[in-house]
């Protein structure tokens, strides 16, 4: 038994612990496929509707070149679809299991919390990518867009690096139900909604009032959108987006440890005050 205790959590076995969460989330996702369909339809409708605004703006204007605006809005809605998928998946880490009633059995298992959260994040990111790719593919049927300018390498790099800090934001939102069992999940949805306002999803952040731009500055989603638009609209390569990538990486380096620390703190707060679960 000493060997179990001593030799745990190295290499493969640590990865296997994280993968247990990925596998569980996949099973849940299969059982709730109806919801996936709802989100997919919602995502497609939202994407098409918002992008049609560009067509509306161009209507009646002679020689209007709206292709830039179409692409700008399309990217905004797709990135938002991705962000909300990832934020929602990961930030339900506590709330979902509270609802199922499994929370205590999961949290008492000998899994270091960071491996638990890593598994949730890996699934959330994969899930978000799949859903967004589907929305993108379907939305393309509605528009005639020239993607000749897209720099794929820069695009992939921005998505990957940005996802790390998005996961960290989601973990911070997900710990709120540990602190506030009744209202935590509402609060965590408000965190998500605020990102929509300040990050320049549908407009350049410069149009925001100055005091709100402060929040744009500290939202990783702002740089995420910047990077994606640079790679997809302006065709910038890896070297051109290096600055944005650097900022996103810095967010990751700061926010990942911060979110893990905060989660652990919230968990121990819940265990001190009996807020994990009351009944039984």
């Amino acid at each position: 038994m000493a060997s179990i205790a001593g030799g745990m959590f190295t290499g493969n076995s640590a990865w296997a612990l994280s993968m247990a969460f990925v596998e569980r989330q996949t099973n849940l996702w299969k059982r709730y496929w109806g919801w996936e369909l709802v989100w997919l339809v919602y995502g497609v409708v939202n994407t098409v509707a918002i992008t049609l605004i560009a067509e509306q703006v161009g209507a009646g204007v002679v020689d209007a070149d709206i292709s830039g605006l179409v692409l700008f809005l399309l990217i905004g809605t797709l990135v938002w679809a991705y962000l909300s998928a990832v934020l929602e998946d990961i930030s339900l880490v506590i709330e979902w299991e509270r609802w199922e009633g499994t929370i205590e059995h999961t949290l008492m298992a000998p899994v270091p919390r960071w491996l638990h959260l890593l598994g949730m994040s890996v699934f959330g990111i994969l899930h978000g990518l799949v859903r967004t790719a589907l929305i993108f593919a379907i939305a393309l049927l509605f528009f005639d867009i020239d993607f000749g300018n897209v720099n794929l390498l820069a695009l992939v790099a921005v998505v990957l690096v940005a996802s790390v800090s998005v996961a960290a934001v989601a973990i911070l939102a997900g710990l709120l139900p540990l602190l506030y069992p009744e209202r935590g999940s509402q609060m965590s949805m408000m965190v998500q909604a605020s990102l929509l306002l300040v990050s320049g999803v549908y407009y350049e952040v410069e149009v925001l009032p100055a005091w709100l731009q402060v929040f744009s500055f500290i939202s990783p989603a702002t740089y995420f959108l910047d990077g994606i638009r640079a790679a997809m609209i302006d065709g910038q390569g890896l070297a051109d987006v290096a600055g944005t990538l650097g900022i996103l990486a810095l967010f990751g380096v700061i926010m990942v440890p911060m979110s893990l620390w905060a989660f652990n703190w919230a968990e121990s707060y819940a265990k001190r005050t009996g807020k994990l679960k009351r009944t039984g």
Binding site: A5, E23, R31, M108, P110, R272
Partner: protein, 273 residues
């Protein structure tokens, strides 16, 4: 390795009273466990009985690392559970009064998840799960969503989940609540077998006094978070016998007399409102 499976020393826990995070103070604190100490020997089944709200689940939660004690220590096979949390957790598992599963996932998917997070591999889990569920008459329901199982069947899957990881310290919090008499016997028999064959040590809470007497080597009685008596079932019965022949003193009598509530009193309360 240290040989005492569970050692609880001067344990106390109260709820409320502390400052809420960035919020107002809660009302008066409620003491759920007060200065409780006991030890369980290797291979023992140790019962904890007490009225509703006497602190049994709170005690079990603290041992499971789900609640942090205000004061006192808990060590599992010599490991202080706060300093060696992950190592201690690997040695423990628990059955809670409510089955608590992912309702739309099958029993097998649930068991796969809950055992994988204890570091087990899928092949081993499937083999052991089939074996345990077979002994509990549930082998043919393993692929159905948990929702389709009755509460009692779910409780049996919960028992399987706990034993699947081969814990050396098992915490059974009302494991047979909601089971029919035959299933109850089945689970009790299973618990006894596991103890004998796998050298497991078991802490059991129950409201079923027959179960306590039949299964437990020693029993502690909790009243308002205090252990007010501890001993073998026979010792406890002898203690309250007071000249009566032992056959007339059941564990039920022991419970009612030591927890300060006699049946007559209850009847009086009923009669006089």
């Amino acid at each position: 390795m240290h040989s005492i499976p569970l050692e609880v020393t001067n344990l106390s826990k109260s709820f409320g009273g502390a400052r809420q995070f960035l919020w107002r103070r809660e009302k008066e604190p409620v003491a759920a466990i007060r200065n409780v100490s006991f030890q369980i020997e290797r291979g023992e089944i140790y019962g904890v009985i007490g009225a509703n709200g006497s602190g049994k689940s709170t005690l079990v939660r603290m041992i499971s690392t789900l609640l942090t004690p205000d004061e006192g220590q808990i060590s599992v096979f010599g490991l202080d559970i706060r300093r060696h949390e992950l190592e201690a957790r690997r040695l423990i598992n628990r059955v809670s009064p409510d089955p608590s599963f992912f309702k739309n996932m099958s029993a097998l998917e649930n068991l796969l998840f809950f055992a994988r997070i204890y570091g087990m591999g899928p092949a081993e889990i499937k083999r052991k799960a089939a074996e345990i569920l077979g002994r509990l008459d549930l082998a043919d329901r393993i692929r159905e969503p948990m929702l389709n199982l009755s509460r009692g069947q779910q409780q049996k899957v919960a028992v399987a989940r706990a034993f699947l990881t081969s814990p050396v310290l098992m915490l059974l919090d009302e494991p047979t609540t909601g089971l029919d008499p035959a299933s109850k016997l089945q689970v009790q028999q299973f618990v006894r077998e596991v103890r004998e064959q796998h050298d497991a040590t078991i802490l059991l809470t129950t409201h079923d006094m027959d179960e306590a007497e039949r299964l437990c080597d020693r029993i502690a009685i909790l009243v308002g978070g205090n252990v007010i008596a501890e001993g073998t079932p026979l010792e406890l019965r002898t203690r309250v016998a007071n000249g009566r022949p032992l056959e007339q003193v059941s564990m039920e009598t022991v419970f009612l007399e030591l927890t300060g509530k006699s049946i007559e009193e209850d009847e009086e309360v009923m009669a006089h409102g």
